[in-house]
Symmetry: C2
Subunit: 384 residues, 2 copies
């Protein structure tokens, strides 16, 4: 069949083609499917530059458990390494996509100024044990004259950062959907620092019935608490010191929540005190973790506190989850919810939350029977 | 892995669940994949009513060549049988989706009045040799409170019927994307009568990198020329006679084109003469077959003539292709382009068209080398 067959006849890449001599496919009788191996001597082991390679690689030799650490923001840092590590722990093959996406840059945002150092990124991926780096050319991702289909996320995309960056999350949803369909992973991992991005992708994946599990990995921080970000390199030493206000403020609110505080106004006020050293606080919002709309006081549902602030001319974002949304514990194998940024969650919270169908996220609530909850409970007891 | 594993724990259907006793999976060593078999005594052989069945059915037992005749308009007729026949000819397993999609009905269009006779449709599918009828419940397709992601097609969706039905093709693109992801076919077939729908779906599939081949099957007509449609049943005998004006007008223009006529105004005028017996001509447009925008005179590129007209209170649409767009001949195995509605195509046309990169459709132009064109030529010489 042409649909799943060799695309060589009718697709050609512009930036590289993976010759047949560079890969082998081996049938895994236990799984009833092919495992795909790139020859280790090939530079393509770490670097797939063109759509044709991915198309080749999907069929008939599609590996069974692929996860993709879906990164569109470079340069890579240790936060991305944590994504790779989490992906390797659960998958046979880890693909990292590196693609600076033109459709998520606004009219006033400079695509070309965005920091990128592809060779360094590729090396970082190689050292982290990534199987394939997928870095397609923008002209292959977006056909220069024909591309015209966009994904429009709903209200989730208009909250928080979305209110200040119109169209941004539409661009994110569109490119992530495209990358998902190119790579066809079973699991995709995103960092919690971009929680709204995770929420939009998770909603899009559920709404469009993409057969992909979305996993959120806790934010990785420097020892002093600053959330890792490609943008931190823009900060001077003095600015960096002042930028600590963001995580300190969020953590203070987290402490208050853990001590039993449920008053939204008070939690925000506690955080806000710390923000005096930033140059401009763009927003500080305590929102429902599912809808990203303002949380009702006193807090009774999963919630998270988000901040965006300028230090010098650098815009930084961060968040803490005050109570975990259902999907974090809906998958018994998913222990990503146990990271250090998760505060205030108890086993009881999780079970009560899961047992309440009005709080279920997507399809999860209905199906969580006694055994499932016991399995989750087992997970929660295990250390990371 | 949860992503591709058993969903039983965390998805449950509302209208039916396929018990494990009703299906078997057998590994096909030649294909290196599972073939899925529903037990023949099961009514589920022909009727899958719930998402869980499809999810079960995807992994690990996903059949290799699935095609889906993607029908959202019921009641079914012989035009749909032709889709099933074409699908069976190229696939191991044919899935028909029957779903009356609420998101493609406008504010003034009555969803509940749309004709549907599910039992009759299911029987028709069974008789036609359909493997699975996929008829999910609307509440499973669109989560009642959470669904919010839509696909926004571009300019293609605003032409022709789209100009009179704002939002319609956005609803079509969204539900087709969802059905594609639920069923995961290798090939999807659509009838040429809904040419604009095919064009939007084809564009969406390419733009979002869905790994699915879109095939257009020629319009099936009654012996007198009337294009088959679920709506024909609304016509009185007298109205039916007058409705023949539509196909007669289009065919007359097709004859003129075949005789060498390339003047857009003249081709339209020849068709228009026949339309006197309809009650209202909504549009009659000669458009570029790729962009669906008004064709330039004299015709040099693939073009098609479209009409929408009211006879009594029934709105009917029809079209003829005057010269085939590239994708119709881009797949050497696809002979659907050789149907009776295709007029004016010669082997020379096809080869010239394919050799001209400015006329290529999506990825096809670049890859069509000499051998590919020879293969196509071989195809064109064969009878249907």
């Amino acid at each position: 069949m042409l649909g799943g067959g060799c695309p060589q006849q009718w697709i050609s890449g512009t930036t590289g083609v993976l010759p047949a001599s560079r890969w082998t496919a081996r049938r895994d009788s236990k799984l009833g499917a092919f495992r795909f191996n790139l020859r280790s001597s090939s530079r393509f082991k770490h670097l797939v530059r063109s759509l044709i390679c991915v198309t080749f690689w999907q069929t008939p030799a599609r590996p069974v458990n692929v996860s993709v650490s879906c990164r569109r923001w470079v340069t890579l840092h240790d936060g991305h390494s944590a994504l790779v590590e989490a992906s390797r722990a659960r998958s046979d093959l880890t693909v990292v996509s590196i693609f600076v996406n033109p459709t998520q840059f606004g009219a006033n945002e400079d695509l070309n100024a965005y920091p990128r150092d592809f060779l360094r990124d590729e090396k970082l991926c190689r050292n982290a044990g990534v199987s394939i780096v997928f870095a397609p050319d923008a002209r292959e991702v977006y056909h220069p004259s024909r591309f015209e289909t966009f994904i429009e996320p709903g209200e989730l995309a208009n909250q928080l950062c979305g209110a200040f960056r119109p169209g941004h999350f539409g661009g994110v949803a569109t490119v992530v959907c495209k990358l998902f369909n190119m790579v066809q992973p079973d699991v995709a991992l995103f960092g919690q620092k971009d929680f709204q991005q995770c929420a939009v992708v998770r909603r899009m994946t559920a709404d469009l019935n993409l057969p992909i599990e979305i996993v959120t990995i806790p934010t990785v921080r420097d020892p002093d608490g600053l959330a890792m970000s490609s943008r931190n390199k823009y900060l001077s030493a003095e600015e960096r010191g002042r930028a600590l206000a963001i995580s300190r403020g969020l953590f203070a609110a987290g402490d208050e929540f853990r001590s039993g505080g449920r008053d939204v106004g008070k939690l925000i006020a506690i955080a806000k005190r710390h923000f005096e050293t930033v140059d401009r606080l763009q927003y500080l919002e305590l929102v429902d973790a599912d809808t990203l709309k303002g949380a009702e006081s006193p807090l009774r549902r999963p919630a998270a506190l988000f901040a965006a602030a300028y230090v010098g001319s650098t815009r930084l974002i961060d968040n803490v989850i005050l109570q975990l949304p259902a999907y974090h514990v809906a998958h018994p194998n998913d222990r990503s919810c146990l990271g250090k940024d998760v505060v205030g969650l108890s086993l009881l919270d999780a079970c009560v939350h899961l047992a309440d169908p009005t709080q279920s996220h997507g399809v999860t609530g209905q199906a969580l029977s006694g055994p499932a909850i016991r399995r989750i409970a087992g997970c929660l007891r295990k250390p990371m």
